[in-house]
């Protein structure tokens, strides 16, 4: 167990990534009660947006300049796609039976994947994403890759901005009101359509930040990367209590930690030596989801809410 600090650090970094994507699920769900299946693909599209920006820059551009530009491009692409999806695919179905928007979301997720697969140059295979070069940092017994620094800085900043936005600004408070009771919020003069668009846009922007972090971390982006990551992020959102933005981040961190620790230590449990390692990490994340749904279905920070009829 001497490498425990290292495993904790790995888990937390991975968890922050999940948390950033989970915020998109949780915000949209909190306001329109829709699982936006396409959110994983919004994340993926953001990664490709950032990659496009990087490829458009002249060679040899310093990463100090390139990374912010990539970030802006990724956020732009993700947000546009998410807002467009909301406007043209989800909004017309808002009063339709529950299954209709859910199936639309699945269709949208397939469409986005296939658009990138078919029309982005060379996207049939994973595309190389820049990494931050240089030796990893050593802090006591913990090694941190340089590329992860981006996430370590970006995630807390994002959370601080979001917290301030939701609690302090007019729009943020309108958002809270809409999620508590959309009808009453409308009666109080809140433009709920605008609030919904905002939720989609913020979620997409965060997903794009996560996508850049993912690209820097793994050194590649591919058209399928949103599927499993989206699933994990949704698990994180449920884990933290869906609808609660701090819960999403907390759930992400918890999930990342659990996954990291399971990967590293499950094989040391007697009789389980074959079930550890990276091949099983998705399985353990899923088992965690089932366990959470069994023992605390409202999630870590969620409150038990009555069904809104």
């Amino acid at each position: 167990m001497h490498d425990l600090p290292q495993q904790l650090a790995n888990g937390l970094i991975l968890g922050a990534l999940y948390g950033l994507v989970a915020i998109g699920y949780t915000m949209v769900y909190g306001i329109v009660q829709l699982i936006n299946f396409a959110h994983g693909e919004i994340f993926m599209v953001g990664g490709f947006g950032a990659l496009t920006a990087y490829l458009a820059l002249p060679g040899g551009t310093t990463l100090w300049l390139a990374v912010p530009l990539m970030l802006i491009a990724g956020i732009l692409v993700s947000t546009l796609v998410a807002v467009g999806a909301e406007r043209f695919a989800y909004r017309p179905l808002r009063s339709a039976p529950r299954l209709a928007p859910l199936i639309t979301a699945i269709g949208l997720s397939i469409v986005l994947q296939q658009l990138v697969f078919s029309f982005y140059p060379d996207a049939k295979k994973a595309r190389v994403f820049p990494k931050i070069p240089g030796d990893p940092f050593e802090l006591a017994s913990v090694t941190i890759q340089r590329s992860d620094i981006f996430l370590i800085i970006a995630a807390p900043i994002c959370m601080l901005i979001l917290g301030w936005f939701v609690a302090r600004t007019r729009s943020g408070r309108a958002m809270q009101a809409t999620s508590q009771d959309p009808d009453t919020a409308k009666l109080m003069g809140i433009d709920t359509d605008r609030v919904i668009v905002m939720a989609f846009a913020i979620g997409a922007a965060f997903a794009a930040v996560a996508a850049v972090a993912y690209g820097l971390r793994t050194g590649q982006v591919d058209f399928r990367m949103g599927f499993i990551l989206g699933l994990k992020a949704f698990t994180a959102a449920v884990l933290g209590g869906i609808g609660n933005i701090y819960g999403a981040m907390l759930g992400g961190l918890a999930l990342g930690l659990a996954e990291g620790l399971a990967t590293a230590y499950i094989q040391h449990i007697p009789g389980m030596h074959l079930f550890g390692g990276g091949a099983w990490k998705d399985v353990w994340a899923f088992v965690l989801l089932i366990v959470v749904l069994l023992v605390r279905p409202q999630g870590l920070l969620g409150e038990r809410v009555a069904d809104r009829a």
Partner: protein
């Protein structure tokens, strides 16, 4: 909605009728001429006097148009084809014929490189079919009045500019959309005659479906789809389909029997195993889709990992099949293997369902999606290096032996009534029995107390529970039953495909069955109906199989179709009456009446 009966092209009705009939007959006649000079185009359309390939479609379309036109003349013996009256069916049939003829012309030009490859016969077909359409436009048609049109539906822009233009032309310029005629009451027939009619109808249906499955090249299949679509629409307009439906409802056991006999007759129409393997796979896909329809259509539970239950059944059957690659060296007889597969799938269904079904429906969707993915990963991992060796990992379990049922070897050829039935024919017939079981379960459960409780839960769970329904238990029952049926189908699938590998069971892949396509088959066909998923699965299996040129953009087209379908016809091709009403509930308009126009009465105040 106000309607009027007017022609689009103002000409005397009698003239239009004669013209349409003549043009339709002429179109059918052009199928006897040569359309192209070289045999390079698939089907060889170079002969005078004998139609081939696409020409058969034009011939059929032309004849149907002619028959429908003459039926409206009042010619005895043909009037039954047009019980509802009205001329819109004629227009649809003529359009279908024109579409298929022009598709042939364009396909020839594209395949052979230029319109110069057309013989005069091809041009003649194009011309006469267009004349028939023109003639049909001169007939008095049921149309909406110009002032009853609502706002244009820009949704069709998603289908591209062409799609929008076509939609605009039909609904706004020609004003032809969505008008239903009332059927006059049917003439009383002796019941034996009605039964004969049903049998004849299913024989025609068998012929049509066999033609579709047997198409040898993509052009013919596309043409077939075009003509079939228009013909079904035309016959629906003339009321013939409703008549038939009323008959099948009246004689349901006969109709069911006829449908299964027609399906069972399919292998006997085939000379080789080439298309029976397609048919066997269609049946597997359709049966699983029907099982999913219990879960999604009746109980309203969105299961996004359904194919995993098929996989559980298939893996269970493969492990106990006696395959040399299976670590368990046992060979169960089929009945035991089928029970094992079904039971294993059901156990997983309960394991997944029990924690999630207590919660809101959305959790189930994501948990099943996760389960589908985890199943595949786990099957990959149980390969001896990253886990215990159970499934051979990504290589799967190969060399699954053929089934022996009561000494009957399904892997060998057998002569039945002078017709040789190959391996896939045997499996097709076995699968048909399983399909029958699933249909029976669906029909019996769907109409029982349990089925009604499922529908009640689907509509409003809170209200259903207030009525004393145990929501959780019944949802779990639906989920486990669905899983069990998929597992049962999986046991046959393992034997049909010789090998089970983890990658057969994914969420979305270009080839069915996978979870996304299964769900799409249910939704496309119609939720909560029996025939819907069967039709949906057949279409979704045949289209990717036959149209290989689509292969690169298949999933893309599939995703777009899913989105558009949800917007335009969420109840599916074959709509459950209740669903149709639910999905097209008129939106309660906002209080738009000017306030001063409505005097306040005491009751209103």
């Amino acid at each position: 909605m106000t309607t009027e009966i007017t022609p689009v092209i103002p000409v005397p009705e009698r003239a239009a009728r004669v013209f349409t009939a003549l043009a339709a007959v002429a179109t059918a006649g052009t199928a006897l001429t040569a359309w192209t000079w070289t045999a390079d185009f698939p089907g060889d359309l170079t002969f005078y006097g004998s139609p081939a390939g696409l020409q058969w479609l034009t011939l059929t379309g032309g004849l149907i148009t002619a028959v429908l036109t003459l039926a409206r003349y009042g010619i005895p013996g043909l009037r039954w084809t047009s019980p509802a009256g009205g001329n819109n069916g004629i227009l649809l049939a003529a359009l279908g014929t024109a579409a298929v003829s022009w598709f042939a012309i364009i396909a020839i030009a594209v395949d052979l490189g230029g319109l110069a490859n057309l013989e005069p016969g091809g041009w003649l077909a194009g011309l006469t079919s267009l004349l028939a359409v023109t003639g049909a436009l001169g007939l008095p048609l049921d149309r909406r009045t110009a002032d009853s049109l609502g706002k244009p539906n820009y949704w069709w822009l998603l289908a591209g500019v062409v799609g929008y233009a076509v939609h605009h032309l039909i609904t706004r310029t020609l004003r032809l959309a969505k008008i239903e005629r009332k059927l006059p009451p049917a003439r009383e027939l002796p019941s034996w005659a009605e039964v004969l009619l049903i049998i004849a109808a299913f024989a025609v249906g068998l012929f049509a479906i066999t033609f579709g499955i047997d198409t040898e090249y993509g052009e013919l299949f596309t043409g077939y789809l075009i003509l079939a679509g228009f013909t079904v629409a035309a016959l629906a307009k003339t009321g013939l389909l409703q008549r038939l439906r009323a008959l099948t409802v009246k004689h349901r056991p006969v109709a069911t029997g006829a449908a299964f006999s027609a399906a069972a007759a399919f292998p006997f129409t085939q000379t080789s195993d080439q298309y029976t393997s397609v048919a066997a796979n269609i049946l597997i896909f359709a049966t699983v889709a029907l099982g999913l329809n219990i879960v999604v259509g009746l109980a309203g539970l969105l299961d996004l990992g359904y194919v995993a239950f098929l996989g559980v059944g298939a893996y269970a059957a493969a492990l106990v099949s006696g395959s040399p690659a299976s670590p368990i060296h046992v060979a169960f007889p089929f009945w035991a293997a089928a029970l094992t597969g079904a039971a294993a799938a059901m156990v997983f269904g309960v394991l997944i369902g029990a924690p999630t079904l207590r919660l809101r429906g959305d959790y189930l969707a994501i948990v099943t999606l996760g389960f589908g993915e985890i199943f595949r990963i786990t099957m990959n991992n149980l390969n001896g290096t990253t886990g215990p060796n159970v499934t051979n990992g990504s290589n799967g379990i190969p060399r699954i032996p053929d089934l022996q049922i009561l000494g009957f070897d399904l892997g060998k050829k057998h002569l039945v009534g002078g017709i040789e039935l190959g391996r896939f024919s045997n499996y097709y017939l076995l699968m048909l029995i399983i399909t029958a079981v699933v249909v029976l379960v669906f029909a019996r459960v769907g109409n029982s107390r349990i089925g009604r409780a499922w529908v009640a839960i689907r509509e409003d769970e809170t209200a259903a529970e207030a009525m004393g329904i145990n929501g959780f238990r019944l949802k779990l029952l639906a989920f486990a039953l669905g899983a069990c049926l998929a597992g049962l189908a999986g046991t046959v699938q393992a034997h049909v495909s010789y090998t089970v590998t983890p990658d057969q069971y994914t969420f979305a892949e270009a080839l069915p069955p996978n979870s996304a396509f299964l769900l799409a088959a249910v939704i496309l066909g119609g939720m909560g109906t029996i025939s819907g998923p069967l039709v949906g699965a057949t279409l979704l299996f045949l289209i990717p199989k036959k149209l290989e040129f689509l292969s690169n953009y298949q999933l893309l087209a599939f995703g777009i179709a899913l989105i558009i379908l949800m917007r335009i016809r969420p109840e599916g091709l074959i709509a459950n009456r209740r669903n149709q009403l639910e999905f097209h509930e008129p939106v309660i308009p906002a209080q738009s009446a000017p306030e001063d126009a409505v005097p306040l009465t005491k009751a209103g105040a």
